[in-house]
Symmetry: C2
Subunit: 243 residues, 2 copies
Amino acid sequence: MRGYLEARHAPALAYLEAHIEQGPVLEAQGLAIGTVTGIAAQLRYQAVVAGQANHAGTTTMGLRRDALAGAAEMLLAIERIARDDASDLVATVGRIEASPGAANVIPGEGRFTIDIRSGDPVRRDRAAQAILIALEAIASARGLTLAVTPIHDLPASPCDPALMNMMDAAITGAGQPPFRLVSGAGHDAMVMAALCPTAMLFIRCKDGVSHNPAEHVDPADAEIALQVMLGFIHRLGESLAAV
Amino acid sequence: MRGYLEARHAPALAYLEAHIEQGPVLEAQGLAIGTVTGIAAQLRYQAVVAGQANHAGTTTMGLRRDALAGAAEMLLAIERIARDDASDLVATVGRIEASPGAANVIPGEGRFTIDIRSGDPVRRDRAAQAILIALEAIASARGLTLAVTPIHDLPASPCDPALMNMMDAAITGAGQPPFRLVSGAGHDAMVMAALCPTAMLFIRCKDGVSHNPAEHVDPADAEIALQVMLGFIHRLGESLAAV
């Protein structure tokens, strides 16, 4: 509890955040809530593939340097590398554009984003490396040029171990089985971690669907979460009073 | 020449068009100009792939129904089917969009265009059929839905056989070797064919590059084309006077 003694002299003792899981893990475990161990390390890139814009009707298949066809092959490589990793690693292409972007013109340029995350920063960086190597090989085989720019590099943000134990105790106190999981999504706790120890509680997410109008939390689960948060705050108060 | 006798009573005797080839054939043959046999049959589709939009950080790879990853696999199938055909067949995806289109959201929808052309309408339709079957199989394997709407179906527009002979003669008359080729691109002749017999002359295109600011015709080739067009018009006039 030494950390909290020190924290008493700081403006914030601790930061507590409850959030919908935005993923499928708690639902798959049949659990209403879980203790978050931390926020996954994120890497984001912007990729630009350049080929040769040309007439779609007159340029024979063998003579094409189609930037979008190259980008499509790269997307599948990114998906395959993430799928082949059996851990929590995920990789996503969420945005893509082809230019000039006309039905009758072979795209001369393709642009897309790459988002890579894992609770384990080493695993994340290893996957990023494998992806960049695969993309370069595809560009080279197709006579395309590739520029990949990092636009976002967020280190992992672990939750405070003592607060995690306190959260587990509060969960048990609410009659629920304790369970720990990592957060693939970024949260406010990530920013607050610079100021004070952080704790997070995840709430079960219907069908694991998020960033979508169908995102849903069961009110009964929210009530359990509220009970756990109150239990957590009581325990934190007691631990401070006990010093 | 019976066609031209009839045509004399119509407002237009014939339609003559010269155009940059917009492709690599004449350059590869070392020729300045060539007689066009007709305009290739075109088919154009709009494809919409629907999956499940979700959070890029929290949705494990195995649980995704990524519409853009599916679209990428479809693009490569389209390219492969066109490449495997050894004829003049071409197929192109020139435009693509993913929605919602954010770096941190798995795309719930992918939209793209498909353009398929061949001088041989039967070959074009066979390729279109193979593409639609391949796309359906990819959608089904990935738990995606696919809607493909035809947006453009242009039959082949052959040039007039007698006028092609006249063009060949005019090319020979200008001291050039006669050569015939099909047009993968659509041209005004395609529209004029409804009114009168059409003839087209193609001019060599630097590096086969078109629909691109680098599109270029050598002025010397343009002069040869002008000479051939004058020769063609003289021959047409003589054929009419001879009746």
